[in-house]
């Protein structure tokens, strides 16, 4: 089935070299608007470097990244990035943290207040709005980060193994919450993980990367209907297929 | 790919800028000193440096520079050693035993806020004008920091470690010598570092108030005689030795506490 959505992100010949070390080697691919793309690869293969290049935190050595057909401009394009590490600001309360992105973008106060209320509700943290990060559990912290990201209603959301530290039950719950938010806002999502099951559960498409110097090994379409059942035969087959591809790293 | 020269420049930019910074400062200084009225107050850097070098062979007052420095270091050294012994002993006792803490801490907390130099008049009254009163002042300056830090370190031993040791059947004596003391060492060293700097400052102060030789004497004599060059030569010596003391102590800690990498300044 042809994907008729327009192209949101165009990555062309992305190469990143640190002194002598070639990390990303001529990577090219497209991401469609509103698509949920998962990227899997071996540990240390430059997935994080890739995301950082996408957000201009690293300058690509060669190649270009376009969003809506223009070079990436963090002030113009609204991008949100959820890091692997905990990134809540310890000096701000939960609601102030959620407001953080909005205040950087100079959103007017009433509108910002509204958004903060809305997303506090969506992640179920309204009761904890005045708490500080050091009083919250790990999953709550990740929820704050997700609310903070979604509150800016980004056109592009990047996530780098955000659920890696959480236990399985929590992970399933947050994955479902994420899918809801994605559907609701129509955000384009690029989601990095080394957990194959998670990738198959979430993604419409899975990119498999190689070891350093990293290239795209292959791309797998995931048409399974939602909500996906992780014990269904189709799911398990797809999962095995991806796992086999990875086994040859 | 970057050229070899630009790569070299980038990596050594910091060192290069440091040199530029100093050169420009010294240049401006020299010009201002020689060609403006400020020269009355601010002798040229060249004169200060040459006088400084000269002081190692030509005596200022009754002694050469090394003797002055030596005397001051001697005073700090003796007092510091006593302060370390007393401070560690007291700090450990207060940290380990709640009883000792209850008895000693209030008295200690009363003495602590009084700056060591405020003791000078009393100290001279008790010990006279010689070295003893200076030892006392420097001792006080060092002792308080060492005690506080040792106390902190002893009190803050990780409960998990203590529990583990006791569970393994260690006697209280073993717990003390094998868990409490070693884990306090980084704190003790932090205290020693602050203390040596405080001690150096204290000896300068004590010598300024009353003495016949030493680096503090140098600068206060300079003041009395209106000899700005001598004051700045003295300050240069004080700064250099102060820096060496602080760095040496930090290096020592680095050696002895390899497992504890402290960050920051």
């Amino acid at each position: 089935m042809e994907d008729k959505r327009e192209i949101k992100v165009k990555v062309m010949n992305l190469t990143k070299q640190f002194d002598e070390l070639l990390v990303l080697d001529d990577i090219s691919f497209d991401v469609k608007k509103g698509e949920f793309l998962c990227i899997v690869g071996p540990t240390g293969c430059g997935k994080t470097t890739f995301l950082n290049s996408l957000t201009k935190l690293y300058q690509p050595t060669k190649g270009e990244i376009l969003i809506n057909n223009e070079p990436v401009d963090l002030k113009k394009h609204s991008i949100a990035y959820i890091f692997q590490e905990y990134s809540t600001m310890p000096w701000l309360t939960v609601e102030e943290n959620i407001r953080f992105g909005l205040s950087i973008k100079h959103m007017p106060k009433e509108l910002a207040d509204q958004k903060v209320e809305e997303y506090l509700e969506v992640v179920g943290l309204t009761k904890y709005r005045k708490y500080y990060p050091d009083q919250l559990s790990a999953s709550m912290l990740q929820r704050v980060v997700i609310a903070r990201a979604f509150a800016t209603e980004p056109e592009l959301l990047l996530m780098d193994e955000p659920y890696g530290q959480l236990d399985i039950e929590l992970r399933f719950k947050l994955e479902d919450e994420l899918l809801n938010l994605w559907k609701r806002n129509g955000t384009t999502v690029i989601f990095i993980t080394h957990n194959i099951e998670e990738a198959v559960y979430l993604g419409e498409r899975i990119l498999v990367l190689t070891n350093k110097p990293t290239k795209i090994k292959t791309e797998i379409k995931n048409d399974l209907p939602r909500p996906r059942d992780i014990v269904s035969e189709d799911f398990v087959n797809l999962r095995n297929e991806v796992t086999d591809l990875i086994k040859w790293w | 790919m970057e050229s070899k020269t630009s790569r070299f420049m980038r990596k050594n930019m910091a060192a290069f800028m440091t040199i530029v910074a100093f050169m420009s400062l010294l240049l401006v200084w020299e010009l201002v000193a020689r060609f403006t009225n400020a020269g009355m107050f601010l002798p040229p850097a060249s004169e200060i440096i040459s006088k400084f070098v000269e002081s190692f062979t030509v005596p200022i007052g009754k002694h050469r520079m090394l003797v002055h420095i030596g005397v001051s270091l001697y005073r700090v050294g003796v007092a510091f050693i006593f302060a370390t012994i007393a401070g560690i002993f007291l700090g450990v006792s207060m940290g380990y035993s709640k009883t000792v803490e209850a008895i000693i801490k209030p008295i200690f907390e009363f003495i602590r806020p009084i700056p060591p130099l405020a003791w000078i008049p009393m100290s001279i009254l008790w010990f006279g004008l010689g070295d003893q009163s200076k030892f006392f002042i420097i001792f006080l300056g060092c002792f308080c920091f060492i005690t506080v830090n040792t106390y902190d370190g002893t009190k803050n031993v990780d409960h998990v470690l203590l529990g583990a040791a006791r569970m393994l059947g260690a006697s209280e004596r073993q717990v003390f010598f094998r868990v409490v003391l070693p884990s306090s060492i980084p704190y003790i060293f932090a205290g020693l570092q602050i203390a040596i700097t405080a001690g150096w400052s204290a000896v300068v102060g004590a010598e300024m108030v009353r003495s016949d030789e030493g680096v503090g004497w140098l600068i206060v004599m300079g003041m009395t005689n209106g000899n700005t060059v001598q004051i700045m030569v003295g300050m240069l010596a004080i700064g250099i030795v102060g820096y060496i003391l602080a760095t040496a102590m930090a290096k020592l800690e680095g050696r002895l506490c390899i497992w504890n990498q402290q960050q920051g300044i």
């Binding site: 950087i104 | 910074a21 209850a102 008895i103 009084i114 300068v204």
Partner: protein, 261 residues
């Protein structure tokens, strides 16, 4: 419940300890005359003198205790304020701007090992024995602590937090004010406290050497006139005020600054 009685027991022990010290002190001086009053006046005498000087007694140094305190505080706070107003922004700038750091930090590192006290002779020679020379000395004492701690605070800014702001499109200025400075605030406050402590110490030193008013002057004169009771009153006052100043800042920090020590 056992803990409560234990705490209570230690409290009593502390109180007893202080009382015991005072008692022994009194015993050894006034009662048994083991130490001459020239060496160590009795607590009773000290208390007497304290009350005398608090209530308008101007002997032997020409001013009441409150007048001396006012004189000292004026100078200390003056130098301190200028010192931190210069030091905090300087520390922040050095930590935030790499180019500025490469130029300014080496110069700062050269001044740093010189104790504030060592500036006294130079300041007095340049600015006389009045108000300004002391302000100058205290400026140095405060400025150094404030700069060092502000610098360290900003340097501790987490890369991840900066990245979060950057991805949201923050300008460098926004990153400084919304991430770096809030991160550094606890350490900046620590710097302010340390600076206050150094200022007070530097003040006492300066007054010992050259002053006509102030607590340091008071105890120096007292020594020359053989009045150890006044010396002790002075020392206690110096200690108490230093302690109060530090506690005020600490309370302010606990109330308004969220974050580590």
């Amino acid at each position: 419940m056992k803990n409560k009685t234990a705490k209570y027991k230690y409290r009593i022990l502390s109180v007893c300890s202080v009382i015991a010290v005072l008692f022994i002190w009194e015993l050894v001086t006034d009662i048994l005359h083991l130490i001459s009053p020239m060496m160590l006046p009795s607590p009773a005498k000290v208390l007497n003198t304290l009350i005398y000087k608090l209530t308008g007694g101007v002997n032997p140094d020409g001013a009441t205790l409150l007048q001396h305190i006012a004189a000292s505080m004026k100078i200390a706070l003056g130098g301190y304020t200028v010192g931190v107003l210069v030091g905090v922004p300087l520390g922040i700038a050095m930590a935030w701007n790499r180019k500025f750091e490469m130029f300014a930090k080496p110069l700062f590192d050269v001044i740093r090992p010189i104790p504030a006290l060592a500036w006294i002779p130079l300041m007095i020679l340049w600015l006389g024995i009045g108000y300004w020379s002391k302000v100058g000395i205290i400026f140095f004492a405060a400025f150094i602590s404030a700069t060092i701690n502000s610098y360290a605070g900003i340097k501790r800014t987490s890369q991840v937090h900066l990245w979060v702001a950057s991805t949201f499109g923050a300008s460098k200025r926004q990153m400084l004010f919304k991430v770096a400075i809030p991160t550094a605030l606890p350490m900046i406050f620590t710097g302010l406290r340390l600076a206050l402590g150094s200022s007070w110490v530097a003040l006492v030193a300066a007054e010992l050497l050259a002053a006509t008013r102030g607590l340091g002057y008071m105890i120096q004169v007292a020594r020359m006139l053989g009045r150890p009771d006044v010396i002790i009153v002075g020392m206690i006052t110096i200690g108490v005020i230093g302690y109060l100043l530090s506690t005020v800042l600490e309370k302010l920090q606990n109330k308004y600054v969220k974050g580590g020590k």
